[in-house]
């Protein structure tokens, strides 16, 4: 056991957890990593490529090594960083990316052959024979690659999204963030303070030095208490700000329940979209290491992390440790560990003039090798050429600190090199309104961080016109780091730069040798910085090594910027929990409940859910039902909810003129009380949408659109009204949801409607085909009636306010019982429109013209309608394919939409393709399958036989070309 005294853990309670099946104990306040260290476990994972044994490297979210599969079953979460996994009772974790036990990974054989797997090796081999790539090489690579594994079960937990607004978002709750939040909140600003940790304080929790002669945690507790009590402050712990987006929008993920065994009634995580007028980036800094041979042995870690484990978590990776440093910060770790009773074997300082700061052995030199495959046993020291092995169970490496510029570069603003700090700091071009402070800006001493945070808040609020004064700040250490750069220890062997992806100094040298020198080439060639930590612990070091090789200064060698998210975010929380049936809202028709009571089968039509057909007892196949619905409609009367068609109400003195420009055909000339079929073109001249246009009054039209285009057509009409012709006196409103519209079709349609209208003359003379009127029905219900037909039968569409839709259908069914009233769904609707030859979505697919649809003459050249000019272009005029009907020569043969059409005897190739079948169905009227399709020169080929080919399903069918009206070609039924 290596549990020390002190620390911010609750020793009164024990938490039991398992790692790779073994049970251990820890305390509230522990992370999985600290608890494992306290239990003497150093080996926690395997690297990506060579499967090298690895231990914990950091104490934060930048951890590249200690990745585990957390939890089990459907809640298993691969690649979880042990360093930020908060311990709870019953936590289960398993190491990942190995075959066999963690201590004896069979894939570690890769490490023996590592010289064959140098940077970019796979680009140079595995090419012969070609077929072996998919069959042999790639599957082997894929099995070895990857890290953790998914459970392959749906995530059982709930997630949420929320929106927050504030004057100042403070990102990071360490010294700088707390002083910024105190300063801003005291000035009355609305403040959100977000920190990824489960406890505010940042590095202050990891340090032993005092603020105003008291432990820093006391100041943190006071600050937190003050902030928590203020109504204008919201503290979000366990919350990672993942990205800086446009106009002050930040994404943040709050891990609401990840510290609990199960979320229970809570959501597991929440995605916050925070709109902030200003933000302070107080995200701190990440320590960097110094590559040397075998610097990846379990037990070698960042010195700052080692100090954090000792001070905050009362844990140490070993009883005897050493420190390797190029700055004064490493000595602090030595002092703090010594104070906790850990034996400091030596501090190895690369600065020849470094002084010991306490009672420990100081060696001027470098660490040049390490031993202990599954756990560090010793390091080799080189001091002016004298080499010595030093026994130790852990080594802290202190190479300086990299400001955490991540979010500052999300708008592609490049960090700039600060030569004094030997680090990149946030540069120009950062997100608008984001001000860096504290260690994130290179202000790394506690005193500087406190000052800088308060200053940033004052500056940010001043930009908002809020006067703020810096909070009074405690006295704190303000020592310079005294860093003298040492980017890597020269020598033979492999020295790791990017731990997880196994990128070594040698790999960078090879990239240089092969001219992969631009930093993006370097990254892509070696996979540097592509691991789960996204280069947080590797990129700057790699740049420095490349800079040494090219002889160019670091900033000229390149910079690296970061992309969102700051750290990995579950896809569940980004999706927000609206999964399965809740993926999109459902739009229900006014008669939905009625249809359900009738036993309807429903179908998704865009967002709508519509009745597809209404099976009756004894019907065993959907075709039986649909055939019955069609025949019943054509023989008696059918009833269908067509509310989903878009409806736009058009009013105003210029309504007719406006619609003349919207439609390809004329609408101004339409008589009051009449309806006209209307065709809309896009401005590029292609057919776009069709519907009806009814003139209810001189200055009042009601238009309909297809279901699919209801939104886009309304948008286009508003575009025309506001952007093209604002001088016209016309107003629009979409009334799709306001009116329930019911089709009543069939020879008995008039007789049925006569039973519900309030004294309205429905005779053919008074209300002919294509008439419309406003009227009263069912004893005082306001309604609109249109005598239009999609089925080819005598038909009407009746509209009533949506809330009466269901009552209307019930009344129609009741009154029509003796007339054979039959509800029909979208399938029968489709069959009847194909039998009648009406175009629908499959024909109006945005790639066809009015001419192809047989509607070319509708496009008026006497007015400036949208799309008319472009419809006359050469390519459109030269199109010969037109809509025809198609009927199998052998009635037993199938006709399927998507078959391609060929002349008899022709070869079937792209070049000989003459068209395709757009829509097909079984026609109970014709007694066979029928289809509609576009056929080259179709208008002149009536009676000809063509071949419909469906090589996809091995079919070839001889079809006769017929006019696209399979019933009542003269239209008598409509008009009688």
């Amino acid at each position: 056991m290596t549990r020390l005294t002190g620390g911010l853990i609750d020793r009164a309670r024990n938490l039991r957890f398992t790692f790779d099946g073994r049970t251990y104990a820890g305390h509230p306040g522990d992370t999985l990593a600290s608890a494992l260290l306290a239990n003497g476990v150093r080996l926690m994972g395997r690297s990506f490529k060579y499967h090298r044994p690895r231990g914990v490297f950091s104490a934060g979210s930048e951890e590249p090594n200690a990745l585990v599969e957390l939890r089990s079953g459907a809640r298993k979460e691969p690649n979880s960083r042990a360093t930020v996994a908060e311990l709870y009772d019953g936590l289960e974790a398993a190491s990942q990316n190995h075959v066999g036990p963690l201590g004896f990974d069979l894939l570690a054989v890769n490490d023996l052959f590592s010289s064959f797997f140098a940077a970019g090796f796979y680009y140079k081999t595995f090419m012969w024979p070609r077929a072996f790539w998919e069959k042999l090489y790639e599957p082997a690579i894929r099995r070895a690659a990857g890290l953790g594994s998914l459970s392959m079960q749906p995530d059982p937990d709930a997630y949420d999204k929320g929106f927050l607004h504030c004057d100042l978002l403070v990102i990071g709750g360490g010294a700088a963030g707390l002083s910024a939040a105190l300063t801003a909140s005291r000035a009355g600003a609305r403040v959100i303070l977000a920190d990824e940790d489960f406890r505010l304080g940042g590095r202050l929790l990891a340090e032993s030095h005092l603020l105003d002669d008291a432990p820093a945690t006391e100041w943190v507790a006071q600050a937190e208490a003050e902030l928590a009590a203020l109504p204008n402050v919201r503290i979000l712990c366990r919350t990672t700000v993942i990205g800086a987006f446009d106009h002050g929008v930040y994404g943040a993920v709050e891990r609401v329940a990840d510290h609990l065994p199960e979320p229970g009634r809570q959501v597991r995580q929440t995605l916050w979209r925070i709109t902030a007028s200003r933000a302070v980036l107080a995200a701190g800094a990440i320590e960097r290491h110094i590559p040397f041979r075998n610097n990846d042995r379990p037990g070698i870690m960042l010195a700052g992390a080692m100090r954090a484990y000792a001070n905050r978590w009362a844990a140490s990776p070993a009883r005897r440790v050493a420190i390797f440093t190029n700055n004064d910060d490493g000595h602090r770790t030595a002092l703090d560990l010594a104070a906790k009773g850990i034996e400091v074997a030596a501090v190895i300082d690369s600065r020849s003039d470094a002084q010991a700061q306490g009672h420990y052995r100081l060696v001027h030199g470098m660490v040049c090798d390490a031993k202990g495959r599954l756990g560090l046993r010793g390091v080799q020291i080189d001091s002016d050429g004298r080499r010595e092995w030093l026994d130790c169970g852990a080594l802290g490496v202190a190479g300086g600190w990299n400001p955490n510029v991540h979010l500052a570069s999300h708008h592609r603003g490049r960090p700039v090199w600060d030569a004094a700090l030997q680090a990149f700091v946030p540069g120009e071009g950062g997100p608008c309104g984001l001000i860096a402070a504290g260690a994130a800006k290179g202000q790394g001493s506690t005193a500087a961080a406190l000052r800088s945070g308060a200053g940033a808040a004052v500056e940010a609020l001043a930009q908002l016109g809020i006067e703020a004064r810096s909070a009074e700040l405690p006295a704190a250490e303000d020592a310079p780091a005294g860093l003298r750069p040492l980017w890597h220890v020269p020598g033979k062997g492999r020295a790791w730069v990017d731990f997880q992806n196994d990128v070594t100094v040698k790999d960078i040298k090879l990239a240089h040798q092969e001219n992969m020198r631009p930093v993006e080439h370097l990254k892509r060639w070696t996979t540097l910085g592509m691991a789960t930590d996204q280069g947080k612990t590797a990129n700057v070091t790699a740049l420095a090594v490349m800079s040494e090789l090219t002889g160019k200064p670091i900033p000229e060698t390149g910079t690296t910027i970061f992309r969102p998210p700051y750290s990995g975010v579950s896809l569940s929380v980004l999706g927000g929990g609206d999964t399965g049936p809740h993926f999109r809202p459902r739009r229900l028709t006014p008669t939905h409940e009625w249809a359900r009571a009738q036993g309807a089968v429903f179908v998704e039509v865009g967002p709508w859910v519509r009745a597809q057909y209404f099976p009756r007892p004894g019907e065993t196949h959907w075709r039986q039902t649909v055939d019955r619905e069609v025949l019943a409609t054509r023989a008696g009367v059918g009833i269908c909810d067509v509310t989903t068609l878009g409806k736009v109400d058009v009013q105003g003195a210029d309504a007719g003129e406006f619609l003349d420009r919207i439609y390809a055909n004329a609408m101004k000339s339409l008589k009051v009380g009449m309806v006209r079929y209307g065709l809309m073109l896009r401005e590029d001249g292609m057919a776009w949408d069709d519907g009806t246009c009814a003139r209810l009054a001189e200055d009042h039209y009601v238009t309909t659109t297809t279901t699919a285009q209801a939104g886009p057509v309304y948008r286009q009409m508003e575009f025309a009204r506001q952007c093209l012709w604002p001088e016209l006196d016309v107003q629009l409103i979409s009334t799709t949801d306001a009116w329930a519209q019911i089709a009543v079709a069939g020879p008995n349609a008039r007789r049925l409607l006569e039973r519900i209208v309030d004294g309205f003359d429905l005779s053919n003379e008074a209300f002919p085909f294509m008439a419309c009127a406003g009227l009263m029905v069912c004893g005082g219900l306001r309604a609109r009636l249109f005598r239009i037909s999609f089925s080819g039968e005598l038909a009407y569409e009746i509209a009533v306010p949506a809330r009466y839709g269901q009552a209307l259908v019930e009344r129609l069914m009741e009154k029509g019982a003796d007339l054979g009233a039959t509800p029909y769904g979208t399938e029968a609707l489709g069959v009847m429109r194909i039998e009648k030859g009406h175009a629908a979505g499959n024909e109006l697919n945005g790639q066809t013209t009015a001419q192809m649809l047989g509607l070319g003459r509708m496009v008026s050249s006497k007015k400036d309608g949208i799309g008319a000019v472009m419809s006359r272009r050469e390519g459109l005029a030269a199109e010969t394919r037109v809509l025809v009907g198609l009927q199998p020569v052998d009635p037993a043969q199938p006709v399927l939409a998507g078959m391609h059409l060929f002349a008899e005897g022709a070869e079937h190739r792209t070049e000989t393709d003459q068209g395709w079948i757009t829509s097909a169905c079984h026609s109970p009227h014709v007694g066979s399958s029928i289809g509609l399709g576009f056929l080259a020169d179709g208008g002149t080929r009536m009676g000809e036989t063509v071949i419909a080919a469906n090589p996809l399903q091995g079919q070839k069918v001889a079809l006769r070309v017929v006019p696209p009206h399979f019933i009542d070609p003269e239209g008598g039924r409509l008009r009688d």
Partner: protein
């Protein structure tokens, strides 16, 4: 230097001392016969085929940044030839056939992996459209299979079959489709071109065209004036900006497309899968990351970054389609700038300036086209005539009314 497994072994045993630069860093010459503007995938492939297949010499590729820094450096790596229209399908099938022999041809493993692409359908109308498209693919000599729901389930049992807002009805499968290692493609072409004497000049931005009497005579660059007999521009994402220097307006808008990769995972997803009822498509890289994407952000942009709503929309689509990915973590999201053309199809054509040629308008489909685009553009530059599979990609198709609109949404780039 010839790459092979033996070579890798020999170098490994001798300390990797023998590896040579993949390409030279030449200084620009005062004049070339051919200048390709843009060292992305299409530009590099053009130079490669111009030198190798068409035997041309004195060729330079001018790249304002690093080689492969265009959209070939930031895409979702899908290769496929599953198009509907006769203007497109033969071209993309030509590209697929080039992919199939590419690595052996340029002696570089670009990890072309034909693990298939499965487009899912959720309505009868979508299935009808797939039948039409699948047949068009077969008629053009490509492969296609129409799967029913149970066949889809057998291939991808982890999809949401039981509890979906838009149930899966089937799918269109192209087995020869798949993915390729995008950077490897750029490097393979670059190395192959360099070996054949092409000067690949990085950090050399074209700042103007010199045009005399309607004919191109050279380009102004940040590294000085360079004369050229023929100039081909292949700078998708920046086409409008570059061609404005030649006085041209294009039927193109620049839009940002975001793409996504998860943390590495053990093999989960076999090939490429696309959702038919939401914006989501996904594959899994050889390193284990789920590589996925959705729709463009939808507004004109040159910023190479997008916004949160699209990230959420894509994640929603992914969770709706395959809810077992919920506990995987998004590792990185990035944005690329697309040349969104007015009909969703590309342009490979001469321009009104004699000797100046344009390769543009790839929308978000440029990666899969890389080999055929390079080949066809080289053909055009070398012979003055369009390649037979690219003859529909003319600039004047818009005014003449011969658009190639796969989606049928008209002249609105953000809908393609």
């Amino acid at each position: 230097m010839h790459f092979s497994g033996l070579r890798v072994i020999r170098e490994a045993l001798t300390g990797h001392k023998g590896w040579k630069p993949l390409w030279r860093n030449p200084e620009p010459q005062p004049a070339y016969d051919y200048i390709i503007v843009g060292g992305g995938g299409h530009g590099l492939a053009t130079a490669y085929y111009l030198a190798k297949t068409f035997g041309r010499a004195r060729i330079a590729v001018l790249e304002k940044s690093w080689l492969g820094s265009g959209n070939i450096g930031r895409n979702t790596t899908i290769i496929r030839s599953n198009y509907l229209l006769p203007g497109n399908e033969p071209f993309y099938e030509f590209s697929m056939k080039l992919w199939e022999g590419l690595e052996q041809e340029f002696n570089f493993n670009a990890m072309v992996s034909q693990r298939g692409i499965l487009n899912l359908c959720h309505t009868d109308a979508q299935r009808d459209a797939f039948r039409r498209r699948g047949n068009a693919m077969l008629l053009a000599g490509a492969d296609a299979e129409l799967l029913d729901r149970e066949q889809v389930r057998a291939m991808a049992p982890f999809l949401n079959f039981d509890n979906a807002r838009f149930p899966i009805k089937g799918g269109l499968l192209q087995r020869r489709a798949g993915t390729a290692r995008h950077d490897g493609v750029a490097w393979g072409y670059a190395r192959g071109a360099d070996m054949r004497g092409v000067d690949l000049i990085q950090n050399c931005e074209v700042t103007g065209f010199r045009i005399d009497g309607g004919r191109i005579s050279g380009v102004e660059t940040t590294r000085g004036y360079i004369a050229a007999g023929t100039v081909g521009v292949a700078v998708a994402g920046s086409s409008s900006r570059v061609m404005a220097m030649a006085g041209m307006r294009l039927p193109i808008e620049s839009h940002v497309l975001q793409a996504f990769v998860s943390e590495g995972l053990k093999p989960t997803i076999p090939g490429v899968i696309t959702f038919g009822a939401g914006h989501f498509y996904v594959s899994q890289s050889d390193k284990g990351g789920l590589v996925f994407g959705g729709d463009i952000d939808g507004y004109n942009s040159y910023a190479q970054r997008g916004n949160l709503p699209v990230i959420e929309d894509v994640a929603e689509g992914g969770m709706a389609l395959m809810p077992m990915i919920g506990r995987a973590r998004l590792l990185r999201v990035w944005g690329g700038i697309m040349d969104m053309s007015m009909d969703g199809s590309p342009i490979i054509d001469r321009t009104p300036v004699e000797g100046l040629y344009l390769n543009a308008g790839w929308c978000y489909g440029g990666f899969k086209a890389t080999p055929a685009s390079g080949y066809a553009f080289a053909h055009l530059l070398a012979t003055g005539r369009p390649h037979e599979t690219a003859s529909a990609y003319r600039l004047d198709r818009f005014t003449r009314g011969y658009v190639i609109d796969e989606k049928g949404v008209g002249a609105q780039p953000n809908l393609h």
